[in-house]
Assembly symmetry: C3
Homo-oligomer: 353 residues x 3
């Protein structure tokens, strides 16, 4: 039978009041468009308010201001999106209880755990995983199949590491972090000294320190520091295929979207939002509460909170080409305009202009 | 001895006629430049026609219009590039027969296959691979070493999964798909609700549905949906290090080149070609038969088939810098030009201009 | 006890003279700012010279020209950064001796090594690693946990392969190469022939040849060639998440920073520096000693050594938007300026302008 909650139970678990019949059973979440009997839906974007009329959900998460017009039972929340997020976690853990929690031995027989490694209470280690010497893993952690936890790394409590993740030696990961599949933490930073003939490797003697409540997506990399550590502060959320160079510091609660990259020794402040595909060059400092739009190129430090962008807009290719070629002569064009201005009166003759 | 075909055999297998001696043996494919005795070469780009003269290949794949001038035996094809592609598959399978097909037990002794998983006929599971509970794997699939197939995932027939791939729970993959090493399918989409203090995780309750004949390169990621599924339609080809956000839909037979990214909930049509390093922001809709050139930034929906671009052309850095700085004042420059126009006659005085 | 060297030992090992007391013990490296008793620091960038005064290091690596003013013992080097790099390697190997070198059997009991594979002297194979049939691995190599070495691949001496790396069949890797976690070498190049209905796969029959002293970061991909091989020449250094397309040739001692991509069949010369996030389209030729700045788009061959750039500078988003929109009409703006010039005298009237 499908896991479910009554609206009354959800009201208590989510700490929001109910409007209407709280005895109905809810067995899942759905968008306004897809919702059917048994589902709980939500309105987080006024743009979709028109969909409320034909929505077939059994209940809704709504802002009190929107609830008056609605006849189906509602959970009233001043932050419907946050309430939806919390609800999604309830249905996730419900679904997971039967599946993600290992039924058999917590440490799979095929896993290799070094005798000198220390595992906390209720730690599960998946098939083919490797825990190297001296690693310390806190209570309730889940180490995915095929993941490798390097020697002397230190993992907090309730950390979830998905399959085929690699942690190099000496990396530390805080409580409740989530690291997705294929991600690599603690590989060597990219440092070489050119001796005139060849690149001489600079051994990367620092490590990586990841604070609590950080999530890192799939296929991302956080390099270890050259001498000091690379630092990811608490609550940072990093998407897939993000690259964090050696000795970067990412401030608490900053969000970095997919395919972005921070070159070495750059500091990003707290509560920043770095869009997808953004590149930030090395040794820069970005202050708190800066938002950088997708695919921007950041080559200078930012000292003022705000919204920043770069890049050129998409065009039909023929037109783009003409403009791109002209752009190659832009400073000259500017000089030509200046010259024209010098031979002309500053103000138009026509009255009213 | 090296595997080989007679030209007659190739003619039959590739369903194209021979011009000249069909008894000669072909033991491999080569470019016009590198071809030697025993090799089959091809002309797919007229730009290289001049190389035909000194080409040492034993046979050629040519368009009938080009074959008249040629003395070596030929396979005549109105689509030489497609015929070359089909020929390459013949030589590949010939080479693979002895190697890729497992000699020993189909399921390697070191693999971990959950008792509740179901494997079709002739499935090979590589060393250290993991097949979790409830997974269903069709006939003739090959699961690479160290790959992890999540619980309740469903894989069709004749699917090839290379080593160290991760499929999360509940992912479905259609017949004849190919997934290259290190790729991650079904990791959580990047969804959080900010409560004013921190990012609250939105559990990703959807999954990923990949249709038949899809190929996905190495180190790519396709995230699972928040509520509905992320969908890759039949025949889509995705290169390396591509990121597909949650709830995206990629239309049938679309090609996405390396390092491109689709942010969440974007829909790309059928028969599109997305160049390398392209970024497409979220919640957009791209119609069928759109081609986007490499490294373009797509921030608006596209409703008309065609070729689109963005980005700026490479220049010597000094010149680039001058233009880039001027670009920062471009709208002002435009206003200045407008002003100049207002104080001037619209037409040049000089006759003939 | 912490590993350490006397300054005299370091002088001999690094082949640089000492100024001052060479009997002091050095137990680590540190930046001028973080250095304390027992640490060796260095000045490689004059910009930090002011930090020498309050630096608490026990010794310094300095250029002779800077050493006169300094009272602490010094290692005098005409290339302080290179000397620092060499010193970092000494401290790394010191730290590693006890840890990285396997204590137990060189080939871990859980590793799967095909009977037909050949391992050199002192090769260590980590837990859950897989060495396929016909692979040849040179002396002193270290194969990381969970890595897969494909059949008939050939690895030189003293190669370090970190965990969860995948080498496809027939790949060759030169002496002293380092390949970081999650990287994939030899996956199929992205080649298809469109038959009007669907993309027909072009089997990738070439391989990858990596010369000696190459380092490749984490999460990178080097695709195998279609017919000929993809080639990485000696001393090339490749950062994380770099994509090298099929049939590319990367010249000796070139450096490619993170998240850059080379599309198929492009040739990059020797001693080039490709910044981070750079995209180079296919079939181009870049000559020796070219530097391309971060996030540049390269769509044409480069025949002259030098520094090249593209991209637009970051701005406050409102201002960026205005300029980006004007850029969309730039060629028209240029025509309007030309028109203005036609109706005007070429030289300003005002004397002195």
């Amino acid at each position: 039978m499908k896991p479910s909650f009554t609206l009354k139970e959800l009201s208590r678990l989510l700490d929001v009041p109910v409007q209407g019949d709280d005895s109905i059973r809810i067995d899942g979440l759905a968008t306004l468009k897809r919702a059917g009997p048994g589902s709980l839906s939500f309105l987080t974007n006024p743009r979709y308010a028109h969909q409320l009329a034909e929505c077939r959900a059994s209940a809704l998460i709504l802002h009190p201001d929107q609830a008056s017009s609605v006849t189906v039972p509602c959970l009233l929340s001043r932050a419907p999106y946050v309430t939806y997020a919390r609800a999604s976690q309830l249905f996730f853990s419900l679904a997971s209880d039967s599946a993600d929690q290992p039924q058999e031995a917590l440490v799979h027989a095929s896993a290799v755990v070094d005798v000198s490694a220390s595992l906390g209470k209720g730690v599960s280690v998946g098939p083919q995983a490797v825990i190297e010497s001296g690693a310390v893993i806190g209570d309730g952690c889940r180490i995915g199949a095929g993941s490798v936890i390097g020697r002397d790394s230190h993992i907090g409590n309730e950390v979830v590491i998905y399959p085929n993740v690699t942690l190099y030696h000496g990396v530390s990961v805080g409580d409740r972090c989530i690291i997705h599949a294929g991600t690599v933490i603690g590989a060597d930073g990219f440092g070489f000294a050119f001796d005139g003939q060849r690149s001489v490797k600079i051994a990367q003697l620092g490590s990586v320190r990841i604070a609590a409540d950080v999530e890192i997506g799939a296929g991302s990399c956080v390099d270890r520091g050259a001498l000091d550590d690379t630092v990811i502060e608490e609550g940072v959320k990093i998407d897939n295929q993000v690259q964090i160079g050696h000795n970067c510091v990412v401030g608490a609660h900053t969000v970095i979207c997919g395919c972005s990259a921070l070159a070495g020794s750059t500091r990003v402040g707290r509560y920043c939002v770095i869009g997808g595909g953004v590149g930030i060059t090395g040794h820069l400092s970005i202050c708190d509460k800066v938002t950088v739009s997708a695919m921007s190129m950041v080559t200078q430090s930012i000292n003022k909170p705000g919204l920043y962008s770069s890049g050129t807009l998409l065009q039909e290719s023929g037109q783009w080409k003409r403009n791109a070629v002209t752009l190659g002569k832009l400073s000259e064009l500017s000089r030509r305009v200046k010259k024209l201005e010098q031979v002309l009166p500053n103000e138009p003759h026509e009255p009213g202009n």
